[in-house]
């Protein structure tokens, strides 16, 4: 007979940059000045994309859009840590992950503009299509990661999720399978404090989402999600671990969704302006700019030039997007199966005959 403690656990928290942009030199990830600048430029570019998408939606030129404003550090930092052959499994709020992963902006606009062709990744890039049902994509990331192990190929997979998805059964099954099979997967959990209107306190009684991993037998870490260096550092370590066959990692990025859930939502109904204002002060883009300026890697002139460059690139993608011809009606039929079944062909032919007569 005995009564003893079998297990206790701790959760690591990582912040490299404080809110004023000062960094802890001991915690600095290995990034060249050029890479640091590139990270910043990507964040600004992504923010510009986000702003443009919202504005297009308001003008009726884009469909429902889910802004990632405030989460640029989490998305850009994690995506930047991936290798070219790694896979990403994004959600509807992860357009910045996709921008970093070279998904052409025009296709992102196409996707949110109601055209599935926007989900086609560049050749050889494994950007899985955006998953809309919350929490379902984790399993796909684990499956692809298991395939890497089974076929002895060296790639890792990144599963994007939010605090809401951490409550879904599928996501917990994904954590479990990842642990059991030591899958080379990184769970990037952007805890942006709200699942539409439900605050994270009502999502779980646990103090952190990172500790969820502990229960599944692998490492979970919380990082300051508005600190791109912390996110990058944790993600780079997780990718390295995945390559070495040492299993999955859950990275909880503690961040905040500055915008509405989507363009159909009004966040003022469930959170105060004061709360939002407090988080605005922790803006991840501003913080990283301060850091670069302190390091003399950035200045107002460069900022001005970047602003113009980013604006130009996004605007040119919009121009391209608006010139993309609408797909033929065949497009909704022809990918249902690898070859078209006769009865489906008949439906398509009948319908085409009808509309050709118009």
């Amino acid at each position: 007979m005995a009564e003893k403690v079998l297990k206790t656990f701790t959760v690591k928290y990582l912040q490299v940059l404080d809110e004023s942009g000062k960094c802890d030199a001991k915690l600095m990830p290995k990034l060249s000045p050029k890479q640091l600048v590139e990270l910043y430029e990507l964040m600004v570019l992504c923010r510009k994309f986000d702003e443009k998408a919202l504005s297009l939606q308001r003008q009726g030129r884009l469909g429902t859009y889910a802004s990632f404003l405030g989460q640029e550090a989490a998305q850009v930092g994690a995506a930047y840590a991936l290798g070219g052959s790694d896979w990403v499994f994004p959600t509807y709020r992860d357009a910045a992950v996709l921008v970093v992963r070279n998904q052409p902006m025009v296709r992102l606009f196409q996707y949110f503009g109601g055209d599935e062709r926007g989900s086609i990744p560049p050749k050889g890039v494994n950007n899985f299509p955006i998953a809309i049902p919350v929490g379902t994509q984790g399993l796909h990331a684990v499956g692809a990661a298991m395939a890497a192990t089974i076929t002895k190929r060296k790639f890792a997979t990144l599963a994007c999720l939010g605090d809401g998805a951490s409550s879904e059964g599928d996501m917990n099954e994904a954590f479990n399978f990842a642990g059991v099979f030591k899958a080379p997967v990184i769970f990037l959990c952007q805890n942006n404090q709200y699942a539409i209107s439900v605050p994270v306190k009502q999502q779980t009684a646990a103090e952190t989402l990172a500790q969820r991993a502990v229960g599944f037998g692998f490492e979970g870490v919380r990082v300051d999600g508005n600190d791109i260096l912390a996110v990058y550092s944790a993600a780079a370590a997780a990718v390295k671990k995945a390559y070495l066959g040492e299993g999955p990692t859950l990275i909880e990025c503690f961040t905040y969704r500055l915008g509405n859930h989507t363009t159909s939502d009004d966040a003022s109904k469930y959170r105060s302006e004061a709360e939002v204002a407090a988080w605005r002060k922790k803006d991840p883009v501003l913080r990283f700019r301060r850091f670069l300026e302190l390091r003399k890697l950035w200045n107002a002139k460069k900022e001005g030039e970047l602003f113009v460059r980013a604006e130009r690139r996004v605007s040119s993608a919009v121009g391209e997007y608006e010139k993309v011809p609408r797909a033929d009606v065949d497009d909704i039929f022809k990918y249902t199966y690898s070859e078209m079944p006769q009865l489906l062909q008949q439906q398509m032919d009948d319908y085409k005959k009808l509309i050709e007569g118009r």
Binding site: S119, I120, P121, P129, L139, H140, V142, T149, I150, E173
Partner: protein, 322 residues
């Protein structure tokens, strides 16, 4: 050639597929060490190892969900769901993702997987082990649905399904696992998907069935003098309308036998196809013999539920004498 029952044929099909193609992976609950609760995967772990024959944690949604990821990444997963009543837990993965990935990505990613799952009543099982809800999967664009009724077809259809580039729900009639034996080649061969089989040619009434009820319909033929043309659908989606229509045009009379509940079942679609393409050949209304629109009963009463030989014979004779 070897004499095999249906479960042995499935086992043999999996063995051939694993041996022929390094991308094939079998996964599910108890498929490894135990060899599957029905023995479908017996011996596979030993022959192909734990990377190809994977005992998973008990989570149906995960079994299908990770299979989707594996398929997208180039494998050919063959997940087993122990009973079709537990496939509902994985329903969202199947409907929201497996069926849609090709369309969603406009062909950039595909999902070649085969979900094997036993279905059908008559095995005196617990609740949730006996339903025939194939119509749900037939109704889902992007899925193929295959139901064999004999050992030979089971193996050939399974190998075809694994070679197919689309997600396939492969439902195995558990009642027939050990009920029928026939000669089955030990090597690899295929039976094409999307092709029904005329099991018996006849001139008076076309009887269409699949899976467990096909064997029941076959038995019924001994109890009637009507000259029946018996068609085994084998693939429910895509439906082989040509074979159905050609037969109905010839006989002018048709009975559809399904174990599934009557309303909204596949028989309804078959009748609609006949309406579309063979209405003027009909000499009698098409008759359905089906399960009831009830919850499948526990085994004391299941014989009432299952379409009986008596009901099938009555329908054939009604159609013939209309």
């Amino acid at each position: 050639m070897a004499v095999m029952n249906l479960i042995q044929a499935v086992n043999s099909g999996l063995k051939c597929a694993l041996a022929d193609d390094a991308r094939v992976v079998v996964l599910g609950e108890d498929v490894g060490v135990d060899g599957g609760v029905f023995r479908a995967t017996e011996g596979l772990l030993k022959q192909f190892g734990g990377q190809r024959v994977v005992d998973t944690p008990l989570a149906e949604s995960a079994i299908i969900g990770v299979s989707i990821g594996m398929a997208a990444a180039g494998l050919r997963p063959v997940p087993e769901i122990q009973f079709s009543g537990f496939l509902y837990m994985a329903f969202a993965q199947l409907i929201n993702h497996a069926a849609r990935i090709r369309t969603r990505s406009r062909g950039s990613f595909t999902c070649p997987l085969v979900v094997r799952t036993p279905y059908s009543g008559g095995i005196r099982a617990l609740e949730h082990h006996s339903e025939s809800l194939e119509a749900i999967y037939v109704h889902t664009p992007g899925l193929k649905v295959v139901i064999p009724s004999s050992p030979y077809d089971a193996k050939g259809l399974l190998i075809s399904a694994i070679k197919d580039d689309n997600p396939v729900v492969f439902m195995e009639p558990s009642r027939l696992y050990r009920a029928v034996k026939e000669d089955v080649p030990e090597g690899s061969y295929t039976v094409p998907l999307g092709k029904a089989k005329v099991v018996r040619a006849g001139s008076q009434v076309t009887v269409i069935s699949w899976g467990s009820m096909l064997q029941q319909a076959k038995l019924a033929l001994a109890h009637t003098s009507v000259d029946v043309e018996l068609i085994d659908l084998r693939t429910l989606k895509p439906l082989d309308a040509d074979t159905i229509i050609a037969s109905v045009k010839k006989t002018g009379r048709c009975v559809v036998v399904q174990e599934a509940p009557r309303t909204g079942g596949l028989s309804s679609e078959i009748i609609a196809q006949i309406n579309d393409s063979a209405l003027s050949s009909l000499q009698a209304p098409v008759i359905r013999v089906a399960g009831f629109d009830t919850i499948f009963p526990l085994y004391k009463l299941e014989d009432h539920y299952l379409p009986s030989i008596e009901r099938i014979v009555a329908a054939i004779e009604t159609a013939a004498s209309f």
